[in-house]
Symmetry: C2
Subunit: 357 residues, 2 copies
C-alpha cells in the first residue's frame, strides 16, 4: 500500500521549470492523502490557468503513477490565496532574507484607496495609534515612495539605524515602528524620481530587510494608483486584509472601485471601507457641511459587497496635528469602533481559491 | 574662407553613436557661425555631463579641423531645454508619428502636484473650460492612467473613434477635446493594473497617436507621484509650462515641493502655483472655515520662487458638478484671473540651459 509520504517524496523530485525548486518546497502541494480509491493531491497554482499548470499537472500524475501504475490519482487544482502566493513569490525569489526570518508579524493590514488625498495615510496612522493605545505592538510600512506622509505626521526626522539583522525602523513616542523612504532622504522635500522597478525594490526591502521584530500588526500605507507600488505590495507581502479609504464623492468612489477590483483580482481580502472627509462641522453655528457633496460611499460599499466600517469628519485639528507631527496626541472617539471592526474582521479567515478536478 | 554651411555639412556626417542619426537632424547643433577668429558651434546635450558628451565634442572639433586645420573652433556646450529634449527624444525614438505630424498644438500646460486629491483634475478641467470660454481651441490629455477623473467630470462615456490619421479625441459639449484611458475601458470602474512601462506607453500614445488637430492649448492632467507617468510626460512632451496645485496643509506642500524639484531637475518651467481647498464658507452663517488648517502655500511658493497664482475655495457645488459630469456649467469667477495669469506667464520665454566653453 502506497503511503502519503511516498507520494510526497516523488513530488519533491518535481522541479518547477522556471524557479528550479521543487513543488513541495515552493508550497505548491497543499495536501496529499491516500483515499480508498487512490491518492488525492491538492496542487496550488499562483494563478488559475497559468501556462505552466498543465505541465505540472502532467508531471504530478506521472510521478505518482511511477510509484504504482494502478494507483488512481485524484488531482485537485486550487488557486493560491494572496498570502500563499506572497510566500511562493518570496521562495521563488531566493527565500526570505535574514531580517525577514527573524520577524514575527501577526497580521499585515494594507490601507488602499487608488485615489490620492482621501486620507489613506491619516487612516493608516490613526489605526496604528488606536491599536498601540490598546497595547498592541504596531509598525507602519510607508509604501508611498514618491509621496511619503507618515514620518511627518509622527514628527520623525532622524534616519534609521542599521543592525546586523537589518535596518531598524524608527520608533515614535508611543513606540510605533516606522519605515519610510523619507527617513532615508537628506531632506523631506527631496524628490524621488524613480521608475517602477526601483519603487518596487524599495518596498520589497522595507518588507524583507527591515528588522521589524515582533509585531501584532503591521500597517502598510499604499500610494494612490494601481501600478507598481500596489502591485508589489499585493504580490510580495502576505496580507491579513485590506482597508479601503474613500471620500463622499463618486469621483473618488470610482477610483476606489478600481482599486477594489485590483485587490479582488490579486486575491487580497477586503476587510471593509472607511469614508473619510464626510463633513465639516461649522465651529460657529454647528452646521454639518457636506463639503464633498452628499455621500455616495454607502452605495459604493454595497456595490463592492464590503461593509462600510465608519465615516470620519474632515477635522481642521487633525490637519494641524499632522503638520505638527503630533498625530499621536490627536484624540478621536470616532476612530475607535473603526479600528475594532477592522481587527475583528481580520480574525475571520478569508475565503480564497477555486477548485478544479 | 570656410562658410557656416560647410561646417553644417561636416556636422551632418557625425552620427550619434547610440541613436544612429546625425547631430543636425537630432537638433543637437543649435547654431553655427563664422566669426573673426574661427567657427562658433553651439552643441546642445540632452543633459549636462552625459558620458557621450566628451566623445561628441571631440568629433565636432575634429570634423571642423578636417575642413581647415587652421580654423579656430569655439565650441559652446549647452543643455537642452525641456522642450528641446522632448523633441530630441521623439527623434531618437524614430521621429514623430503620423498623427503627431498633423497636429498643431500651440502650448502644452501640465498640471502637477505630486500629491493626490488636491484637485489637479479640477484645476486642469477648470483651466480648459476657462480657455474654451475665451474661444481658444483646447484639449485635455488625461495622463492619470490608473485614476483617470477627466471623462467623468465632463460626463463623457462613449469611446473615441479611429481615423486614418490616428485616434480621434472625444469632444465635450463645449468642444474641448479629451483623451483618457477611461474612454477606452469597457466600464469606468475597470482597474488598470499595469506596471510602469505600459503606463508610459499609453501616455506616449496619447501624445503621438491622437489626432488632436489644431489646438491653442493642450492641458495635461498628471497623476500623483514622481514616477513613470510624470517622468514620461516631462521627457516626451514639449511643455510650455507646469502649473503646481497644492492644498493649504504643509503635508501636501512637502509633496508638492518634491514634484517641483522633479520639474526643475528635468528643466520644465513652472508657471506658478494654485492653492486649492483653501477654505469652506458655511452656507448658514457665512463663516470661512479653514478645513485644512491655516494656509502654508504662500510660504511654499516663496520657498520655490514661483508665484502663487490664486487660492480656490472648497465648494460642495463643484464636487456635485464633477460627479454629475457637468463641470462645464460650473460658474466660477475665482478661476478667471488664475487662467489669465497662467496664459500670460506662458508667453514669457523660459530660461534654460547652461553654457560651457
Amino acid at each position: 500500500m502506497t503511503t502519503s509520504n511516498e507520494v510526497l517524496d516523488v513530488l519533491r523530485e518535481i522541479s518547477h521549470p522556471e524557479i528550479k525548486r521543487n513543488l513541495v518546497e515552493l508550497g505548491m502541494i497543499k495536501d496529499v492523502a491516500i483515499e480508498n480509491d487512490g491518492a488525492k493531491v491538492i496542487l496550488a497554482l499562483p494563478y488559475k490557468g497559468i501556462p505552466i499548470g498543465d505541465r505540472l499537472k502532467r508531471e504530478v500524475r506521472e510521478a505518482i503513477k511511477g510509484i504504482d501504475p494502478n494507483l488512481k490519482v485524484n488531482l485537485v487544482v486550487v488557486e493560491m490565496s494572496q498570502k500563499e502566493r506572497a510566500v511562493f513569490m518570496s521562495e521563488a525569489d531566493g527565500g526570505p532574507k535574514t531580517a525577514q526570518l527573524q520577524n514575527k508579524i501577526g497580521n499585515v493590514i494594507a490601507v488602499l484607496s487608488g485615489k490620492g488625498g482621501v486620507g489613506k495615510s491619516s487612516v493608516a496612522s490613526l489605526l496604528a495609534v488606536a491599536l498601540s493605545r490598546q497595547k498592541k505592538r504596531v509598525g507602519v510600512l510607508d509604501a508611498d515612495i514618491t509621496g511619503p506622509s507618515i514620518p511627518k505626521m509622527f514628527g520623525l526626522t532622524k534616519p534609521p539605524m542599521m543592525s546586523e539583522s537589518g535596518i531598524l525602523p524608527v520608533e515614535t513616542k508611543m513606540g510605533i515602528k516606522i519605515m519610510s523612504i523619507n527617513l532615508l532622504l537628506p531632506g523631506e522635500d527631496e524628490a524621488v524620481i524613480w521608475r517602477g522597478p526601483r519603487i518596487s525594490g524599495a518596498i520589497k526591502q522595507f518588507w524583507q530587510d527591515v528588522h521589524w521584530g515582533e509585531l501584532d500588526y503591521l500597517i502598510v500605507d499604499l500610494p494612490p494608483g494601481t501600478s507598481d507600488a500596489s502591485l508589489t505590495v499585493m504580490q510580495s507581502i502576505p496580507l491579513g486584509g485590506i482597508v479601503l479609504v474613500t471620500s463622499p464623492q463618486d469621483l473618488a468612489g470610482m477610483v476606489v472601485r478600481k482599486a477594489a477590483g485590483m485587490a479582488r483580482h490579486l486575491g487580497a481580502p477586503i476587510l471593509g471601507m472607511v469614508e473619510n472627509m464626510s463633513h465639516v462641522t461649522c465651529p460657529k453655528c454647528g452646521m454639518r457641511i457636506l463639503v464633498f457633496g452628499p455621500s455616495r460611499s454607502a452605495a459604493t460599499a454595497q456595490q463592492l459587497f464590503v461593509p462600510l466600517l465608519g465615516q470620519l469628519p474632515l477635522d481642521p485639528l487633525l490637519a494641524e496635528k499632522c503638520d505638527a507631527g503630533e498625530i499621536e496626541t490627536y484624540q478621536t472617539d470616532e476612530f475607535l469602533p473603526i479600528a475594532e471592526a477592522i481587527v475583528n474582521r481580520i480574525a475571520k479567515p478569508a475565503t480564497a481559491g477555486t477548485s478544479e478536478q
